[in-house]
């Protein structure tokens, strides 16, 4: 490898310098807000790697694109946080094994303590956990909500008991159940509409892959990520994997909660309100992005360069990743590197390209095994969900 393949030292230096001017310059729309105020990590996520994270608010924290790293697994300290309401007290972690989850909508409904679940057969799934609004910050329409770039996503391992095993144990689900509905254990103050509760329904077929998990990357799940117990729905956006899960039900109708009915819908950009009849944000479509090189790495030297990034098919395995150095005019197939950890995980990709002097728009696009290719354009929608546009995720670098 020629010496200039080494990661640009400027970029390296930036990873630990959250407030540097160059880092600010790379933040696009956030620049003005962040220049005024770099927020501290909230107490429940104080153990995160502060220099690698962008704190939008105490309940919305993402990983910097330049800090995604080169390993396939995202360490917990780099995993984004998105809580729809404040997390419960950390006291719920004092006796994890005593946490109870109620299983309803089965022939023999009952509650399990986490200690009971741990005695059952376990599985580990590696999957992309991604916020529904990841990439919202790239919508020119500036939808309301956190302006995430790429960092509201990570690839992590969850360990727990398969939901289908529980259902089998309890005599099967009720006839006619259409949805798997999870309810979170956040405390809702008295006097509030119960629709404020954190509850999501997904099509019942998702049960086949779902887990009730108590470990994240081999460690007890931290409060910030839903410990002591989280419902994991692989292939679906993060909101569907209910934290602090206290009830799992097999239901005939979708939850009447606000976050099921009146949010997380692919409503038209000009809709006044979200229509519960619009499609719910559930499965993730195929998506990829480049993590290196990035513009904040400074000017590159002409010659060979390695383009690296991550790609996933949502619910399907990755078939192929292509990269472009000319804004999508021509494409070249990248190598899939690192281990293949299953169809819900992301693949790392790398492609060696020759960069001439000038400005280059670097782009990537993934195709899954079902033939779905990442599109050039985003699907415009009111809340800025599911941005998979390869054009939006392209980066422009200067080469001297």
């Amino acid at each position: 490898m020629p010496p200039h393949f080494a990661v640009n030292p400027v970029r390296r230096a930036l990873l630990g310098a959250s407030a540097s001017a160059a880092a600010m310059a790379s933040l696009g729309p956030w620049r003005s807000a962040l220049a005024q105020q770099v927020r501290p990590l909230p107490a429940f996520a104080a153990w995160k790697d502060a220099g690698a994270m962008i704190v939008h608010s105490p309940n919305t924290i993402e990983l910097r694109r330049g800090a995604m790293g080169d390993g396939v697994i995202t360490p917990a300290k780099h995993l984004y946080v998105r809580n729809n309401i404040a997390p419960p007290s950390a006291d719920i972690l004092n006796d994890r094994d005593a946490w109870e989850v109620q299983i309803d909508g089965v022939r023999r409904p009952r509650a399990f303590k986490l200690a009971d679940l741990k005695k059952m057969p376990t599985e580990t799934v590696t999957m992309v956990l991604q916020c529904s609004g990841n990439g919202r910050g790239m919508f020119p329409s500036k939808p309301s909500g956190t302006p995430w770039q790429v960092g509201a996503a990570g690839c992590v391992m969850w360990t727990g008991v398969p939901v289908r095993e529980l259902v089998h144990e309890l005599g099967g689900m009720e006839v006619g159940a259409k949805f798997l509905t999870g309810t979170g254990g956040e405390v809702i103050p008295a006097g509030l509409d119960p629709k404020t509760r954190i509850e999501r329904s997904v099509p019942v077929a998702a049960m086949e892959d779902a887990l009730l998990a108590w470990e994240l990357n081999g460690q007890p799940i931290p409060l910030a990520h839903g410990g002591p117990l989280r419902l994991i729905v692989p292939g679906f956006t993060g909101v569907n994997s209910i934290k602090y899960v206290k009830r799992v039900g097999f239901t005939h109708a979708e939850s009447d909660s606000s976050i099921q009915q009146a949010d997380y819908r692919m409503s038209a950009p000009d809709a006044k309100t979200m229509n519960p009849a619009d499609p719910s944000v559930w499965q993730m479509p195929p998506k990829s992005w480049i993590n290196s090189p990035l513009p904040e790495g400074g000017t590159l030297r002409a010659g060979a360069a390695v383009i690296k990034g991550v790609a996933f098919g949502g619910t399907n395995a990755v078939k192929q990743v292509e990269v472009s150095t000319d804004g999508g005019a021509t494409w070249k197939v990248a190598a899939l590197v690192g281990p293949d950890l299953g169809r819900f995980a992301w693949r790392e990709f790398a492609a060696t390209v020759d960069l001439t002097s000038g400005s280059h728009q670097l782009a990537s696009r993934v195709t899954d095994v079902k033939g779905r290719t990442q599109p050039e354009t985003r699907i415009e929608n009111k809340a800025g969900y599911l941005n998979t546009s390869w054009r939006d995720h392209a980066v422009t670098v200067s080469v001297a």
């Binding site: 309940n59 309401i85 103050p189 509030l192 509409d193 606000s258 006044k272």
Partner: protein, 88 residues
């Protein structure tokens, strides 16, 4: 305090019609509230139009509060945007 803001402050802290107090969920220094469920409004600094829209339509777990009158929504929006020094 500006008397024009008192109605909004009162609804914020005590609720109105079938709407609960905003203070149950939101922190707002001027109102003396420390709710932790929803965003901290001193940090969010939502403008008047956004506040009115979210009260009427809901956002995320926050339900739409349809029982409030237009005047009550306007009073709340004016109050919160003013005391958080959001741009109008």
């Amino acid at each position: 305090a500006d008397p024009a803001l008192m109605e909004g402050r009162q609804i914020f802290n005590s609720g109105a019609a079938s709407a609960p107090a905003c203070a149950l969920c939101h922190t707002l220094k001027d109102a003396g509230s420390a709710g932790q469920i929803g965003p901290n409004l001193d940090e969010l600094k939502p403008d008047t139009a956004r506040i009115a829209r979210v009260i009427r339509s809901g956002m995320g777990p926050m339900p739409a509060f349809t029982a409030l009158t237009d005047d009550q929504v306007a009073a709340l929006a004016r109050y919160v945007s003013t005391v958080t020094q959001a741009k109008p």
